[in-house]
């Protein structure tokens, strides 16, 4: 019976609430306060001065970085979704149950290898004399400049997000009612058309959420743009680290961080709305 929360209930619900208030909400709130502090001679002073907001928002380089970051993250989401879909589709529909379990297990492994280590590894693949160019050389191609380009950043972004995107897509695909596919075939819907008419609409929520996670991950990542992209172009994450590197400008870094959070919340809100668009409330039963 659902009674009002009792001592018993509070014992279970309070600790997390207190912890997240103290160490999640307060730090974020402090970040807001911090963005109004001022810095003189390497020292921060509590203050209530919008100067950091004005300065940051007044800088073309900030907006440039903002545009770049949004564009990169959006491209990464689109690219990851498109690259992952055939793979998760094939794992769902073209593998036996046991092969599928293995595939899922294998896709979990990357989460437990250091992202830094993998990015470092990519440097060895992508550099001018790296593995890829050596292999291309065997076919008389290249060498191509790959490292320190936005393309290499994208490779890093895929390293970061592809396993997650594949898994999230996979989880929405395996839960598709197979009879829907059979029903579509039964109504003269051919193989490929079924993918677009039935499979994708059925998995829509999962596909959008997967893309959203890719966006969130890549939007805040600084490892790939620095170590694969050569720090060029400047992304917001690079701008944050740069800002903290220049005369203790933490308040300005806070402005960037808060702008990023705002952007992410807006994107997440829109994505979730889009994912569930057209699905009535009752649909979740």
């Amino acid at each position: 019976m659902r009674r009002a929360i009792s001592l018993y209930g509070l014992t279970f619900s309070l600790p997390l609430l207190v912890w997240q208030l103290l160490f999640f909400v307060f730090p974020l709130a402090f970040l807001v306060a911090l963005s109004f502090w001022t810095v003189k001679n390497f020292t921060m002073r509590p203050d209530f001065d919008p100067v950091n907001w004005v300065t940051m928002f007044g800088k073309p380089v900030f907006w440039q970085a903002y545009g770049t970051t949004v564009a990169l993250a959006a491209s990464a989401s689109a690219l990851a979704s498109v690259l992952a879909f055939p793979c998760s589709y094939a794992i769902t529909f073209k593998l036996s149950d046991s092969a599928r379990r293995w595939a899922i297990f294998l896709m979990v492994i990357p989460f437990f290898t250091s992202y830094l280590v993998r990015v470092y590894s990519w440097q060895i693949f992508l550099s001018d004399a790296g593995i890829v160019n050596v292999i291309l050389g065997w076919f008389g191609l290249g060498p191509y400049s790959m490292l320190n380009t936005p393309g290499a950043t994208m490779v890093g972004y895929m390293t970061l997000s592809l396993p997650l995107v594949i898994l999230l897509q996979l989880f929405s695909l395996v839960f598709i009612d197979r009879t829907l596919i059979e029903a579509a075939h039964n109504m003269r819907c051919g193989r490929l058309r079924t993918v677009f008419e039935v499979v994708i609409p059925s998995a829509r929520v999962g596909l959008v959420i997967a893309a959203l996670f890719c966006f969130i991950l890549t939007f805040g990542d600084f490892v790939s743009p620095v170590y694969l992209g050569g720090g060029d172009p400047t992304t917001l994450s690079i701008l944050i680290t740069d800002t903290t590197k220049s005369g203790q400008q933490w308040p300005r870094a806070a402005v960037i961080a808060l702008t990023m959070i705002g952007t992410l919340l807006a994107v997440a809100f829109l994505a979730v709305r889009f994912a569930y668009a057209g699905q009535a409330k009752g649909a979740r039963k």
């Binding site: 009879t179 059979e182 579509a184 039964n186 109504m187 003269r188 819907c189 829509r204 009535a280 039963k285």
Partner: protein, 365 residues
């Protein structure tokens, strides 16, 4: 009425790996009939239907539709729409879009398919829900959408796989008459898979009874109910008492069988091939054809002394459960009026008797 053949199964076998789900099946479906396929779980009903729909390929044999073999025609090139147990409505489309789906796949223009869809929605009395999400409909309404979705292409045949099993009892009965009427009015051949006896018997023109991939009996509901042909069918329908014993005497018109519960007779032109003396024979008698009396009836041919073990109250009738001296259970079904005069306390000793003409021989296995 002699109808043309629409579908024929010719020696059709379906294996899954080493397991044979359907064994050498030969039968025909007539144009315009309502055929029910019944049998216990796992007997191959769905597999049979799916082969017809092109969702499984037969391992051997040929399936013909209007005379043409269709074994290897992909699903999407046949017109064999199916209604799924789960309904398989597209949750991301609204009611109208669901119904339009098959038409869209056939490349029909938007205006025309909209009109056709609405016509069927109207016919199924759900036009007012056309713009609703399927999740917002009740079970019965969803059922109608599924029917409309399959019927909108006006096929020659409609396949239904336990379409009513998810509905509650009241709705089930209501949808049965919707289905029956629809079939009558459209003249479309219905192939209806179910494991509910009452559904099959109340709707179908002919019933196929399957067991472990084999057809046990095909016939009208009356034929099957009145004279189950095999022990499986008798058991499965559950309305017969079954006795097994050795044949003592057998002629064209009368057979006498020695069973643990006594000597039982049957006869009256029921015996195309009478069994031979000494054979094992199984005979059945419907629980509605058995009678109860307090004292041993005189002149009756089949009399079994029994004790009452319980009574079950089922609407207009009651079933009395009895036990012979050997522990064999016998059931007698009667109206309340007929039972009114009998003492039915547990342990009460009574006599069950029935006429030899109400007994039938059935094949074992």
């Amino acid at each position: 009425m002699q109808r043309d053949t629409l579908v024929s199964f010719e020696g059709v076998i379906k294996r899954f790996g080493g397991f044979t789900a359907v064994q050498k099946m030969d039968f025909e479906i007539k144009k315009g009939e309502f055929l029910a396929i019944m049998g216990s779980s796992g007997c191959g009903k769905t597999t049979t239907l799916r082969m017809l729909a092109g969702l499984e390929a037969p391992s051997e044999g040929t399936i013909r539709l209007s005379g043409k073999p269709i074994n290897h025609l992909p699903t999407w090139q046949r017109d064999t729409p199916m209604v799924w147990q789960s309904l398989a409505l597209f949750p991301f489309l609204n009611v109208r879009e669901n119904v339009e789906f098959a038409l869209k796949m056939r490349g029909m223009a938007k205006a025309e398919r909209r009109q056709r869809a609405e016509q069927w929605l109207d016919r199924m009395q759900i036009l007012e829900f056309a713009d609703r999400n399927v999740a917002q409909l009740s079970g019965g309404q969803r059922q109608r959408v599924a029917l409309a979705r399959s019927l909108v292409v006006e096929p020659e045949i409609l396949l239904l796989d336990e379409p009513l099993s998810a509905l509650d009892a009241a709705l089930k009965v209501r949808m049965q008459s919707v289905l029956k009427n629809l079939q009558r009015e459209t003249g479309i051949t219905f192939v209806y898979v179910t494991h509910s006896q009452s559904e099959a018997f109340s709707m179908a023109d002919r019933v196929v009874i399957m067991s472990r991939g084999v057809i046990e009996q095909i016939g009208t509901p009356q034929e099957i109910y009145g004279a189950p042909r095999t022990r499986f069918v008798a058991d499965f329908l559950g309305s017969s008492n079954i006795f097994t014993g050795k044949v003592l005497a057998a002629s064209q018109s009368m057979v006498e069988v020695e069973t643990p519960d006594g000597r039982l007779a049957l006869g009256g032109g029921n015996l195309p091939i009478p069994p031979r003396q000494g054979d094992t024979a199984t005979l059945t008698v419907l629980d509605t054809k058995t009678h109860l009396s307090v004292s041993r009836p005189t002149g009756a041919a089949n009399i079994v002394p029994v004790r009452v073990i319980g009574e079950e109250f089922v609407g207009a009738t009651a079933t009395v459960y009895l036990e012979t001296a050997k522990g064999h259970e016998i059931r007698v079904q009667k109206s309340h009026d007929e039972l009114a005069g009998l003492p039915l306390d547990i342990g009460q000793e009574l006599f069950v008797h029935w006429a030899p003409t109400d007994s039938h021989l059935v094949a074992e296995a």
